[in-house]
């Protein structure tokens, strides 16, 4: 396996850097959730009323981003996520398990 990428269904997917990942998450938050210029450690629930419905919607966006389907267990782990940094940690961990 070449560094910085992983294969799903014989498709090579490039792993982004942390900064690239943050930018992608920020784009999703802006486009889908109208969250603009958030701090990476803002509590999304308290600051932006980001609720369980939003969390499920975000997981769908993450699946699209990673081009992979998340397991039920992986989705449940996401329910404790509170900040953008947590989101990035979560996505990085997902990518690693697929590398």
């Amino acid at each position: 396996m070449e560094e910085g990428s992983y294969k799903i269904n014989n498709t090579r997917v490039t792993i982004m850097t942390r900064e690239e990942l943050q930018n992608e998450i920020l784009k999703i938050l802006s486009r889908e959730f109208e969250i603009e210029n958030p701090d990476l450690d803002d509590d999304l629930r308290e600051r932006y009323e980001f609720d369980s419905i939003d969390a499920i919607e975000l997981l769908i966006e993450i699946e699209k981003l990673l081009k992979t389907e998340l397991t039920q267990e992986e989705k449940k782990q996401a329910m404790d996520i509170r900040t953008i940094n947590h989101v990035c940690d979560y996505v990085e961990a997902l990518a690693k398990t697929r590398a």
């Binding site: 269904n9 959730f33 109208e34 009323e49 609720d51 419905i53 939003d54 499920i56 919607e57 769908i60 699946e63 699209k64 081009k67 992979t68 389907e69 998340l70």
Partner: protein, 411 residues
């Protein structure tokens, strides 16, 4: 405990306008909201009827994303009229969230637009690796989506009633809301209904040969309730909401009281799910009067269900004649906008209030030559000044459900 129930605010989105001024202008000047059916690349090519009661003016919604995210088109309509009613009522936030305000609001079948999108994914043959159905699709499409989106938007914590009985949906909302206050369960109820643009409903009635098809090139000439040339109903879209409030509660806070709800009846024909039933309807009208504690001669105006179908209008005219003789003025207000389905009861109630306030009686639009079989009642055929003190609003639905609301001018 029986308490008086008054209406302290109302709002409607209709094919003939949104504001009271627009709607009254359409009623006074005989302006129809029926237009050509919009193409939808789904069913319209198969449907014989080419007309629809259309809301074709822009609506400027100002909803936060947190509220929008669970709303399909029908909930947008519902929340808009609910917002306008709450604003007009002057109720304070403490009361709104106190648990003493409830919501009775429904639609024919939630949001068919969103349901269609879900089915497209189900049956689209996609072998996508990840889920395509969003977490909120059910919340947008479910039958009680209107009621609960309203509760969410305003933090309303009282009871929720979400009738879904086709054409009696919102008259039931008002009726059940009235009973909730009358018997002390709530001090106020936000009641109404909404239905979005949807050609599947047109297709259903078209298949049953109940839709108007002869006026596709001249939509404003149909529907024609009680007219000898009527050829069926016209499906429409819209929303209507009223705030019902316990009289003393409204009086103490100095609310502007528009009218009083004094009676409600709801029954079922107990048989055929489609055909109108003279005995069932007649009984509904009688129960409504009994519930209001008034005699038939006290009713000045009957807002007939009057969809413009061949049989429905005759049966309804017979029922009105049996109960009222030819005393009250009768008009079919769907003649202006078509049949707005789950919202018709609320819209027709609001139109009656407008007529009470402005002291006029609208005619049945397109009623040129009364069908002999409908001629035994007193049709309103031209615009006239009139002091409606009490009005009966009657609605009948597939499934054999009948309702009658009795409202009284507040003086």
């Amino acid at each position: 405990m029986e308490r008086r129930v008054v209406i302290t605010a109302g709002s409607a989105i209709t094919p003939i306008g949104h504001s009271k001024k627009e709607i009254v202008n359409s009623l006074v000047n005989g302006i129809s909201g029926v237009k050509r059916l919009r193409q939808d690349d789904l069913l319209t090519r198969y449907i014989h009827s080419g007309v629809f009661g259309t809301v074709d003016y822009p609506l400027e919604y100002d909803f936060k994303r947190q509220h929008r995210k669970t709303m399909g088109p029908v909930a947008y309509y519902a929340c808009q009229v609910a917002k306008e009613v709450i604003e007009a009522s002057g109720l304070d936030n403490e009361f709104i969230t106190s648990g003493r305000l409830g919501v009775a609001f429904g639609s024919t079948h939630g949001s068919p637009t969103v349901q269609r999108d879900i089915y497209k994914i189900f049956f689209g043959g996609s072998s996508s690796e990840y889920s395509n159905i969003g977490a909120v699709e059910y919340l947008k499409s479910m039958v009680h989506t209107t009621a609960v989106n309203i509760t969410k938007m305003f933090g309303i914590t009282g009871r929720v009633i979400s009738s879904s009985t086709a054409c009696t949906t919102s008259s039931q909302s008002i009726g059940f809301g009235y009973e909730s206050i009358k018997f002390g369960m709530q001090d106020a109820m936000l009641c109404g209904g909404a239905d979005e643009y949807d050609t599947t409903t047109v297709a259903v009635f078209d298949n049953l040969l109940a839709c108007s098809t002869a006026f596709n090139e001249t939509p404003h000439l149909t529907p024609r309730p009680f007219d000898s040339r009527r050829d069926g109903l016209v499906v429409g879209e819209g929303a209507g909401a009223v705030l019902l409030e316990e009289y003393e509660h409204a009086r103490k806070r100095g609310a502007n009281i528009l009218a009083e709800v004094i009676g409600f009846a709801c029954n079922n024909n107990g048989g055929d799910l489609i055909l109108p039933n003279l005995n069932g309807i007649t009984q509904t009208l009688r129960i409504g009067l009994e519930n209001a504690g008034i005699s038939p001669d006290q009713i000045d105006f009957v807002s007939a269900h009057a969809t413009g179908t061949k049989m429905g209008d005759i049966i309804e005219a017979q029922a009105i004649h049996k109960v009222y003789g030819n005393s009250p003025w009768v008009a079919g207000l769907k003649s202006y906008m078509g049949h707005t389905m789950g919202t018709c009861g609320a819209i027709e109630t609001i139109l009656c209030i407008y007529m009470m306030e402005e002291r006029f009686i609208a005619p049945t639009l397109n009623l040129e030559v009364v069908d002999d079989r409908c001629a035994m009642i007193r049709h309103s055929m031209k615009l006239q000044e009139g002091n409606i003190r009490m009005a009966a609003i009657q609605n009948f639905a597939f499934g054999g459900v009948n309702t009658c609301l009795i409202i009284k001018k507040f003086e």
